[in-house]
Assembly symmetry: C2
Homo-oligomer: 338 residues x 2
DNA sequence: TGCTGGCACTCACCCGCGCAGAGTGCCAGG
DNA sequence: CCTGGCACTCTGCGCGGGTGAGTGCCAGCA
């Protein structure tokens, strides 16, 4: 077990390293923080911290830098989320309130997060399965061609073209539309599959095939589009990383273009808690020297999607976490209002 | 006027520099290209080309590199667009044909362009004004709330929520929907404003206010969303730029995050011709060391939007232009089929 | 007039050197 | 268990010379 002071030393190392981006030595530490002990003592503590794997030296006779394990301890035990100041809160609120529709909300959110944290921001669109159905619409585009439009309580709209096996009478279509809406409006998307299960049976035999086609497309849409859409911003902030970054920045940019990777990065949408993944804790190896701070947000009490930032492991965790949490909270409010 | 051989020398310089990324000298030039003259002669030609501003030396006693003006001459007079090979064509076609909807087409296009050119790709969504109306739908979401859905012949869908001044009867709504569709279906979006101009007069006085509101939102949607949406990809390719790129890459990434800048970059949507903007020809100063190759694409004969790539001025122009042109052509085909 | 070979000159780049400074580990003493 | 002191280890930096690619100019030749 590490003594109180050694934890204090670790905290000081993390703080200084994050600030200066340079390995920090024992002397500099005692000068900047009132640890109440001499450099020699700090050196002993550092040696112990290094044995435990919390810090490392890039080269012999250089200062120490925190390891992923060190950052992990710092985040878990040593750091408190830094709340936003009142002016910052107001700025966030003002900025988000100007949005005209869901696309705009998401676009503004990603800009805001990128600016506040000076890192790369990622925002997932409210997912379908966690939202509720506001309206289902079926539009006859041609005799055997129907467009399905889904509208969620968060304002998201999905559409899909359906080629039917047989032409659809206008009355059957209206009938299906009415039944569909009465069955699913106000319900959660996740519950839709069982709600529509028995629907074909209510129709004339000759229409059942067509009805099934429409329903199966509806279900497909729910599955495929479920978690898919997200946007990123602030990639220019990657250039602040280090001076070495041809090698650093490239895999990160590549990873950020893979939606699948990003979605995994944000983590399970169900989980509304704030999560921090540090360095190698990220499965994707291009992101081994980055950390991800993510949190769920939602219009009501529960999360409908996630948002977060991607930055160097050497980041200001308390500040970043504070910004992420605050933005998620205000986005939730905005969504609930609209 | 420059002699034939001097143009040949310029062409050789551009080709070598693009290949090696290093200033090219007179001796290396004569070795790699059969110019039929000695290095000394080439040196004289180079001096002349430098006087004219087509090439420059980074330092005294180094080789020459092309200037923006040099690239311009190269592109205009010395280079032929390099057509794709048959296997490449097939690959493009196969890749694009797998797309399931418009979003997917656009997403695949941007990936494809980025991979083919190994540069940053930008694809604009088919613009509304240049498309035709396939269907207009009005959905009553609440007594005084209507959702407007616009569907284009390219498969693009726009939706907009409208708060009406007064509740809308279901029959008036159906009436308006029918009239709207009969007026505008199959017409170009650009023509919609005058087509719907007299529409309110056909309604009962008590409905006219509401009808006007709906129509004005429709027109607004046309204007605001007109050219807006586009996506980019392949930003990881920026890291291939140079070795100096903290300073190079940053402003480019910043510029690429500004939709407005990007739209200007692609150029006027009306213009279907392939355009190349080299270095300082780009108004935005963050892009002073990049070139943009853009071209219009469309489902029929005319352009509905643009796509292109952004890369270093030192790029393979013939190859890039060939790839851009080919992709635009195939995207047009895919859109026309769907 | 235009091309060629020759020649002197100029830098950017590379390599090795030595020095300074920050940081460490260890040890003996309080 | 903390502290001051001491010897040691490296990285980083600035300096200087050598190398080589490339240039401009000039006189000679078709």
């Amino acid at each position: 077990m590490l003594s109180e002071r050694r934890l204090e030393v670790l905290r000081a190392i993390v703080q200084d390293y994050v600030g200066t981006e340079e390995p920090v030595g024992s002397k500099a530490l005692t000068e900047r923080h009132n640890l109440g002990v001499s450099p020699a003592t700090v050196r002993n503590d550092m040696a112990a911290l290094e044995d435990e794997g919390y810090i490392a030296q890039p080269h012999t006779s250089a200062g120490r830098i925190p390891t992923d394990k060190g950052y992990r301890l710092f985040v878990d035990k040593l750091a408190a989320v830094k709340p936003m100041t009142p002016p910052e809160r107001r700025a966030i609120q003002n900025f988000l309130e100007g949005a005209v529709d869901l696309d705009d909300v998401v676009a503004r959110t990603v800009r805001l997060l990128a600016q506040l944290t000076r890192q790369v921001a990622v925002v997932q669109y409210p997912s379908l399965t966690r939202s509720t159905v506001r309206h289902v619409e079926l539009l006859a585009m041609a005799p055997a061609r129907v467009m399905l439009v889904l509208i969620t309580d968060t304002g998201r709209v999905e559409q899909r073209m359906i080629d039917c096996p047989a032409p659809f009478g206008e009355t059957s279509l209206a009938d299906l539309r009415a039944r569909l809406n009465s069955h699913v409006t106000g319900r959660r998307f996740a519950d839709v599959p069982q709600l529509v299960q028995d629907l074909p049976e209510a129709f004339e035999p000759e229409d059942r095939g067509t009805v099934s086609t429409v329903l199966s497309t509806l279900l497909e849409t729910l599955v495929e589009e479920t978690e898919e859409r997200l946007i990123i911003g602030g990639t220019a902030n990657l250039t602040r990383f280090g001076h070495d970054f041809p090698l650093t920045i490239r895999p990160v940019l590549e990873a950020l273009e893979e939606q699948v990777v990003l979605l995994k990065l944000l983590g399970e949408a169900k989980d509304p808690a704030m999560r921090v993944r540090i360095g190698h804790e990220n499965a994707h190896e291009g992101l081994n020297s980055t950390s991800v701070v993510s949190v769920g947000y939602g219009s009501g009490g529960e999360a409908v999607a996630k948002l977060g930032v991607v930055g160097p492991t050497r980041m200001d965790y308390p500040g970043t976490m504070g910004a992420v949490r605050a933005v998620a909270r205000y986005v939730g409010q905005i969504l609930a209002e609209s």
